[in-house]
Symmetry: none
DNA sequence: ATTTACCTTGTCCTTTAGTACAATAGTTTT
DNA sequence: AAAACTATTGTACTAAAGGACAAGGTAAAT
């Protein structure tokens, strides 16, 4: 696998060289690669200075168009979360500090070449925090709530949380509006919700 | 670093043995370790069968209490996202399939021992999708909605979306309850919301 | 100067929501 | 078998919510 560092620097950082002595370093991606072997695989290490999101976007686009299956890693001078998210959403498979020591770089390469994705511990931790409080765990938390309810209460609760009125809920569950109220009342009590709006907020929670 | 596999199996899977021939395998964590060297570092590989969340929780707790700085990895027979999130939130530093090939296990160990955190590509991809679509997009969409409202309507709307009653909103905005209703009514019309619950769902949307 | 958009508040009325107090009947647990 | 939990529905009442109709005041745009 051929490593190519794209950086404004004329010579690579020492850690890069240490990790990958045979890597190429160039200022920009060769749009018309002279010899793109069929089975050759490329790993691009994009050196990211601040305020180059424009450049990042177009460069990644270019690489993805010209080089099939190329792995793209972003090395940021000043890593930041938003940029990392952005890069990953474009298909970048690793995001790390430009001054990461050599062993981290080789580690990254190991992970990447096995089809993995690499993020520094801090970032990953942050992502996990974010996601656990959001989507992933959301289902969990909702379940946590719902599991304290009886079967029927659950059914009523989820409909109510969608914004349906008691009458509508009654119709689709084929019970009386009064019964809906009964289930909702006990639901409120069990979950400590003040009313259906709070219930909805609990079950649609994003925090 | 001493590797300890905690599993109901009497002998480890072949990939485990291949990756770590010198690892110990035991059915449970030794609560009172006979010889916990000061500087010894331990890596626990918890083999997770389905429906053992209880066990997982208590085991992780136990390890964290008895072994300082121990790294904990979960190997799941049937990996699933919710469980992964849960485990990571408890401080587990890697989560993977129990039948991961040996090279993945060593890869995990490499990453972990350098202070990293390891997740399989699928899971990580999912996490990234989730976080980007949430953290980023959500605010956008809400703004989209809010910007069609007047200043005052906005203020009322956000309070209503939190679950406050008209009376409460009136108090904090220092206006009459009637005025709150007026703002809400026009808000409903502008945003096409049926009532305050729908408004809340719109403004708290997680998509 | 006139129109337009906001903010404010009033009264009146209808519809929902939610609770209190009860009751019947099936299921599960102890 | 008795106790506890669940599902169902009734009547009645209180309190919000939301709309209809109306109107006075301010500020900006035409």
């Amino acid at each position: 696998m051929q490593d190519i560092f794209i950086s404004p620097l004329t010579s690579g950082l020492t850690s890069w060289v240490e990790a990958f002595p045979k890597a190429k370093i160039s200022a920009m991606v060769n749009a018309k690669p002279t010899k793109v072997q069929k089975n050759a695989s490329y790993m691009f290490w994009l050196h990211m200075n601040e305020d180059r999101q424009q450049w990042l976007t177009s460069t990644i686009d270019l690489i993805q168009k010209k080089y099939e299956n190329a792995k793209i890693v972003v090395l940021a001078n000043a890593p930041n979360q938003a940029e990392a998210f952005y890069a990953m959403s474009m298909g970048v498979v690793a995001y790390s500090h430009a001054y990461s020591p050599a062993f981290v770089l080789t580690e990254i390469k190991t992970v990447i070449s096995h089809g993995g994705v690499w993020l520094g511990p801090d970032l990953l931790k942050r992502i996990i925090e974010v996601s656990t409080s959001l989507a992933g765990n959301q289902a969990e938390q909702v379940n946590q709530h719902l599991k304290t309810l009886t079967k029927r209460e659950k059914e009523v609760a989820v409909e109510a949380a969608k914004g349906l009125s008691n009458k509508e809920i009654a119709r689709i569950l084929n019970i009386t509006e009064r019964t809906v109220k009964a289930h909702l009342s006990s639901t409120f009590e069990r979950l400590g919700a003040k009313d259906r709006l709070h219930l909805a907020l609990m079950l649609n929670k994003k925090a």
